[in-house]
Amino acid sequence: MRTTFRAAAFGAALAIAALGVQAQTIKIAYIDPLSGPFANVGEQGLAEFRYTAERINAKGGVLGGRKLEVIGFDSKSSPQEALNQLKRVIDQNIGYITQGNGSNVAGALIEAVNRHNERNPGKEVLFLNYAAVDPSFTNDKCSFWHFRFDANADMKMESLTTWMAANKNIKKVYLINQDYSFGHAVKKAAREYLSRKRPDIQIVGDDLHPIGKVSDFSPYVAKIKASGADGVITGNWGNDMTLLIKAGKDAGLNVDWYTYYAGGLGAPTAMGEAAAGRVKIIAEYHSNVANNKAARWDADFRKAFEKQKLDFYFLRGKIMWDMFARAINQAKSAEPKAVAYALEGMRHDGEMGEVEMRKQDHQLIQPLYVFTLHKSAAKGGPKEAKIDMEGSGLYPVTDARLEAFTSAQPTSCTMKRP
């Protein structure tokens, strides 16, 4: 009796151990602001990524049954804090990190990951970047351990100016940007590309303002007005963008806004009708694209987060997860190095068309859209304008789709592979 019991217990223990190995989850550390002024942005990303990982798991996970798990680490928008969190990630033997908010944070992480991987072969960490768009990360600072799934600042400007060049009504453009590396990159690219594609467009003003410190933009708006501009290009995000656009509406400023970040993450809510008909965005996705293969996913996500009024925003995030899961399966291993080799050069049938993780510099080449915000049906727009972004009364309409080759830029990256 006793022996049978023992045998049974032993057998059970063995079975549990075997199950443990088989069911070992693959952990991904999400290092982004989860407190402080940009916490809302960080929390939305986390919510989307958790949702995506759950879907992948529900379909059987990767490597025949292993699950993916996203764990949040608070970067507090600070490079120093992000590095502290990276140490914790490494201590917990997590092989993957993902981050997007702040190119200053991403830059610090890339360097730290490079150093760690060089010193600890066999225990590498792989960095999946979903939103930090400083062009240098896929040029002079490129790394084998870094993959970027968002179009970088230059690529977005390339597509945006290609579209602007065809619009002969644009004659005078004003640039206003935040005074830090990303704002400078936008300003530089805008000047360079516009003068190449449409030398007749006059740049009638060029302002840099401190990031996150201006609450009253009306003086800037008066200045834009006085310059006679018909369009304003801005890389501003967060309150710096919404306050600028609201101030413009209050003063009756008659310009088109060309933006990077007015399409989600609370911006439609904050701008409201002030944005209608005036605000244009360059991004990889909006809920109203033609032949939307992500429509089902988008609708399910909205439903799941109806109470929090979250929209599906990071299509590039979904693409990142799908490619990541495929790379693990293709490599037949969850080792970061093997997965990195599988990701390099991977082509993927994305929801908006084929995308490619360029082998040369680890930059995802993807189609982009220029779109304008209009009033939704709920706020007196046309009847078919049913989509309502964040319940703000705004409805996105495509101006143009720019194929992947439009934005692809040459790279100066010379990558060292392990």
Partner: protein, 295 residues
């Protein structure tokens, strides 16, 4: 000419909003000697309360209800918090209000979330008030100026023309004598602290929809109102008024200047100018523009 006029109006209206924000702070300081670090948090609470009230019964009731609610919270804070801490001196008070600011911010996170809320300018006040040549001037900015000036006049009337105002003024300089005359000085302090909070709340109702109502809004205005109180002279209402207009106009006009010095334009440096002014003033005139206390 058009540009100059518009910028002047912009400067004045921004200055008046700053005054609404800083008047409560300077009043509380002049009477109680408490530098209230949570003052900007009361501003934020005002905006959130106004949002909550306006979604159910509209903006106009919110304009009255939200400041009263914030004032009530201010009084509770004074009665059950600050009064106890007062015994341990000014440093303890300072730390108390510092902690309070964090508590309020976290509470706002818990109740309203971390994203911005949809608090909009009411339709009656949305649109242009008048047109200067070709530039529109929004009604809401005019309304902002009106409320601010009305506030200044009523504070002044209360302080100089009413009985409670006289008691407050007397308690400012001679608290013991006032107490000996049979007035309840702690209650006066409670009222003043609540009143200061209510003024910040009112500024929140007005500023919350003019700008954005989100959990970072307190941290965004916190530093600038301290600058105003220091520049105007700690505890001087008139000083705060002058300093608000000065800083409002200075920031507005600095933005328009594209003169550059060593590669940095004045426009780029505009937001730093108030702090520069504060540092210079502390060096050359430590009591501020209209202040009576030294240092």
């Amino acid at each position: 000419m058009e540009f100059l006029l518009v910028q002047t109006l912009n400067g004045i209206s921004y200055g008046l909003l700053l005054f609404m924000l800083s008047s409560g702070l300077t009043l509380v300081f002049s009477l109680m000697g408490v530098l209230n670090f949570a003052h900007a948090s009361f501003y934020m609470l005002g905006a959130y309360f106004a949002y909550q009230v306006s979604t159910t019964i509209g903006f106009w009731p919110a304009l009255a209800i939200a400041p009263v609610l914030v004032g009530a919270i201010g009084m509770l804070v004074e009665r059950w918090g600050l009064r106890t801490v007062h015994r341990y001196g000014h440093v303890a008070e300072l730390l108390f209000t510092f902690g309070l600011a964090y508590l309020i911010e976290e509470a706002v996170h818990l109740v309203w979330g971390r994203s911005s809320v949809e608090y909009r300018v009411p339709p009656d006040l949305d649109g242009p008030l008048f047109t200067i040549f070709t530039s529109q001037y929004p009604i809401y900015r005019g309304f902002m100026m009106l409320v601010s000036v009305a506030m200044l006049v009523s504070i002044w009337l209360v302080l100089t023309r009413t009985r409670i105002g006289l008691v407050i003024q007397a308690a400012l300089t001679h608290p013991q004598t006032v107490e000996a005359l049979g007035h309840n000085v702690p209650r006066v302090f409670m009222l003043v602290f609540g009143g200061g909070a209510a003024l910040a709340g009112l500024a929140g109702v007005i500023g919350g929809n003019a700008f954005v109502t989100e959990p970072g809004m307190a941290a965004a205005v916190g530093p600038i109102i301290f600058v105003i109180v220091v520049v105007g002279g700690m505890g001087s209402l008139a000083g705060a008024f002058i300093a608000s207009l000065l800083i409002g106009c200075m920031q507005t006009f600095a933005v328009s200047l594209d003169w550059s010095l060593a590669g940095i334009t004045i426009a780029q440096a505009a937001p730093v100018l108030p702090y520069l002014l504060m540092v210079l003033l502390l060096i050359f005139r430590p009591k501020g523009l209209m202040g009576t206390r030294e240092g």
